[in-house]
Symmetry: C2
Subunit: 384 residues, 2 copies
């Protein structure tokens, strides 16, 4: 099994040439126990670092993203936030030095459950220590230390990346100067916990998951694919789909791909085919165990772990400015949670702008409604 494991780990690296890797430390102790030997983070950069090192924008990602936020010379493939990062774009690479990190625990170059444990020579799988958002932030800070980054101009955190950002800001007062929080939360609420819990259960119940010891040549694709579809249900919005798909049917070829009970069980409606297409893309690149770890870390995140009250914790970060963006159609990280963050941040000396945006695409709006998000972010950065 080890042979195929290594093959898969290197497959991503072979086909994604853009990122760099740094070993953070000899040994990283994690919050809930256990440690990682020689943990690595993958990251990519765009633009030029100024002599004063004062133009650094750091992007921390959502659960499923790699560090490939935008195309580059080394990796011309379109990035997951291509419309936002580049020359003249909201995160203007002719002005800023943009860094994006693949979070600790992920499977796109950083150390995670699919990585080889140097001590055993085998992939960690479920022997990977329990991962928290706090650990991600600690690892990211070690990366900045290695890169001799002493101060971040603007930290950007959508979704899980927002939690990752909050942890980083709280752990390192005065390290981050400005913060853009997007559709994130200071703690997970039961509805979002339930959605993620179900996604994990679907993966665990896939027989190919095999208690985490699946073959990397024959991983639990059904589990990961269905988990992803369930995720999509929480990332988009009912109104968007009503407008976009209505009751449109799939092309006949897609219906007849199923070998039995076609009409009853196939993907007859376009919404079903749409989800299937997107989820198949995902199942082919994302490590099942990594998904379990990252997903659970979001459930666990809670600002109260850092102190007595959110006001006290977020009022004393040393942040100069913050922009908190929420989306009204977001059911996973509702605007009420964005407002909360804004209020807590504003209880200290941070100058806070809060906007509840009327985008249609739910939690994923920041990935889709580039026009709206560009406008808000440009306006924020220009007025610093």
């Amino acid at each position: 099994m080890q042979k195929s494991d290594k093959k898969v780990v290197s497959l991503f690296e072979k086909t994604n040439p853009g990122f760099q890797k740094i070993t953070l430390t000899d040994s990283l102790r994690l919050k809930r126990g256990g440690y990682l030997k020689n943990p690595v983070l993958a990251y990519e950069t765009w633009g030029e670092l100024s002599k004063e090192k004062d133009n650094i924008i750091v992007i921390l990602t959502g659960l499923s993203a790699s560090s490939h936020v935008a195309s580059s010379v080394t990796n011309p493939e379109t990035g997951w936030w291509e419309g936002m990062v580049g020359k003249g774009k909201a995160f203007d690479t002719s002005k800023y030095y943009v860094v994006c990190i693949n979070s600790l625990g992920s499977c796109f170059g950083s150390t995670g459950p699919a990585s080889i444990n140097e001590i055993t020579g085998e992939p960690y799988r479920l022997t990977f220590p329990e991962l928290t958002i706090d650990d991600m932030a600690k690892a990211s800070k070690l990366l900045f230390d290695k890169l001799e980054i002493k101060s971040i101009h603007t930290l950007v955190g959508p979704s899980m990346g927002g939690m990752h950002s909050l942890a980083l800001i709280i752990q390192n007062n005065n390290f981050v100067r400005n913060f853009i929080a997007i559709s994130t939360a200071r703690q997970s609420l039961p509805y979002s916990i339930a959605i993620r819990s179900l996604q994990r259960e679907v993966i665990r119940k896939d027989p190919l998951w095999n208690n985490g010891y699946y073959s990397y040549d024959n991983p639990p694709l059904n589990g990961v694919r269905i988990a992803r579809k369930l995720g999509m249900l929480s990332y988009r919005s009912a109104d968007e789909w009503a407008q976009r798909f209505g009751r449109k049917k799939s092309a006949k070829t897609e219906i007849t791909q199923n070998t039995f009970g076609i009409e009853n069980t196939g993907f007859e409606f376009e919404i079903e085919s749409y989800l299937e297409h997107l989820a198949i893309k995902f199942q082919n690149v994302f490590d099942a165990n990594s998904y379990l770890y990252l997903s659970r870390s979001i459930d666990w995140f809670d600002l109260v772990d850092y102190g007595s009250s959110p006001n006290e914790i977020l009022g004393q970060t040393g942040l100069s400015n913050a922009l908190v963006l929420g989306v009204e159609s977001d059911t996973l990280f509702p605007v009420s949670q964005q407002k909360e963050i804004a209020e807590y941040l504003a209880s200290g000396t941070t100058k806070v702008a809060y906007k509840s945006l009327d985008c249609l695409q739910g939690h994923d709006s920041f990935l889709v409604d580039i026009e709206t998000f560009s406008r808000e972010i440009k306006c924020f950065l220009e007025n610093l």
Copy 2:
């Protein structure tokens, strides 16, 4: 396999003594093709039928309910709408004769995929013809004919039962005098189709499902349980769970039931244990294939199949009065869909009352917020 099939079919009947069964006809042809030989519907009644047979209230159920809407002498077990049906309750059985039908295709006494096909002597399973809401309504009308019911005082349809009701009303103008529609729709929209599609996929991917040919002694419980949890996500509301569960943890005993990766994969939060408990109850009583058929029938339902425009179809039903109730926190059948039904019904001679209720429990509010629903329904019935 046949032996155990029969055992299961009779198990429900043994443990649920309250309902009666009637064979509807020799052969029932279904809308999308195929037919059922000697189809049966299960039903229960409460109260006394008046001499004039003018006090009949019929309740058509949601996807997962049996005909056991309330306790009775023959079956003292609490029914699924116990708070609504009984002496002095909203559906007052000292005044009305209440009939509840287990829909065609279900697994609680009516003919469905788990029933024995008389022609083969084996359960139908996936040889059950494709089922539509239209077929359910046709079967229910045959039941009324057998019972010599010529007119329904008030027809009540929550959720799928509302679609079933709409079909019955449209197929039989002037048969129903008054109609109470609760959290239903004139057609399924892509968000709800996606949720149901995923539930079906989870069941089909359970290896025990075995292309529909599972052993009734060892059915695909994981699939059905997870599908039910997914359903629950769409039946309740995020705000309800935030208030009710917040970030409460499960009792330790529940966490340690899992044999590995406890903290990472177990049911650590109370919301997770809550869903598990409810879904286990469900997995033990509901037939997997029946779930697939009923679920798909909801996707397919579309009023436009009955004529050129919803206005034309629902404006000419002969209904005297209608009460249309929606719930603001319902994401599965949103209030916009209730308003639509009310407007279409009102385009003819029907006197229509529409209420958007401020209940917290989402789509399931009609099952939980008995006080609010009782008040609205009592008020409607008293003013007829």
